[in-house]
Symmetry: C2
Subunit: 192 residues, 2 copies
DNA sequence: TCGCTTGTCTAGCGGTGCTAGGATCGATTC
DNA sequence: GAATCGATCCTAGCACCGCTAGACAAGCGA
């Protein structure tokens, strides 16, 4: 069975190569530049090879989104675990969230702006996405306030962060005032 | 000069036809379905005619976005003017904003999700967009709270609304709980 | 070594945004 | 009223897109 195992290893390696290349190209030139032709050229295989790994471009975006969700959840947990007290955790969480979105715009797009064919907010939602929301919930649930459902509070806080992230990146909000916006948001929303 | 005037009238009418058709098609089947071929077929002119009115598809999207901004500003002002007191105005504003986004998803996309080639947050920003932000500022400035810059507060509140609108529409948030989310948002952010 | 499966590539389909260049229509002038 | 000439519009085509059928070659097991 060694031959088959080797082939599977090679195949898995190539799949990682495809995703890493797609992600790199998207971060460099935007997702519009990630065409199947350019992508296949960069990985030094022909176009049909892509379709032996993914159903199509949408599924490639979705795979990058899942990668990103895992990384983001880790980044959020790392940020909150280094902070003392509920309030500080929420501030750290907000900063880490916006920081991730700013540093990985293409990945953030894959997760929340583009259609990666992923299910959301239901039982078919892939684990990395659920886990990302869970990472938010862990810190935000602490400061929801009396009588406020933690899930609902997390949704609202998350929506605010998402709005700040996307509007800033799209040039709708000047990027300089990000920090005071975060402070205002935490100040008002978090019941210390 | 009557001939020239008639031609200009006809030209303006055709431009309105292009925009109305693009908008209708986008609302019915999404912006992906708005191709220059389909659009030209629906207006019963050939493709190049589109390019005698607009530089390209991007500029058509931008024109629809400006139309939408004007309408949205009017809708927001209508909603707030019918409410009594700062707090009620903000609630009405938030509901009207989310309602507009839900009822005109394609127009909302043109304004905030797609690239319509429009300038934002600087001196080149078209008047309708500035006015839309002004409509938000009028009601939100009242409840920013002491020592908080009204513009900054408006940005944060707007970002939260934008996040709720986009995440809901993309299926990231279940649509049922929109109303409690609005109440929570206004409760926490507005300093009565 | 042979046959066969598995994997990869070439070539091409129908679609996209956009444009060059020719045809036609109609207003202006004689 | 006819001829001219410029504005206006369309046909045809470019390069590119996502995706796939079918030919071909490489490497496996017998």
């Amino acid at each position: 069975m060694s031959v088959q195992e080797r082939k599977e290893r090679e195949r898995a390696a190539r799949e990682r190569l495809i995703l890493a290349t797609a992600r790199e190209l998207a971060e460099q030139q935007g997702w519009d530049a990630v065409t199947t032709r350019r992508l296949s050229e960069r990985i030094e295989y022909s176009q049909p090879v892509l379709y032996s790994h993914f159903r199509g471009k949408r599924e490639i975006i979705g795979a990058v989104a899942l990668e990103g969700a895992t990384e983001m959840a880790a980044a959020l947990r790392a940020a909150t675990s280094a902070a003392d007290g509920p309030r500080a955790r929420v501030t750290a969480l907000a900063r880490a969230y916006l920081d991730f979105a700013a540093r990985n715009p293409a990945v953030y797009d894959a997760m929340f702006q583009l259609d990666g064919g992923l299910a959301f907010a239901n039982e078919d939602t892939p684990q990395p996405l659920k886990d990302g929301f869970a990472a938010l919930l862990e810190s935000l649930g602490e400061v929801a306030g009396d009588g406020v459902h933690p899930g609902l509070f997390t949704e609202v806080f998350w929506a605010a962060l998402h709005g700040l992230a996307t509007l800033t990146r799209a040039g709708r909000l000047p990027p300089e005032d990000t920090e005071p916006r975060v402070e205002l948001l935490v100040d008002r929303l978090a019941m210390v």
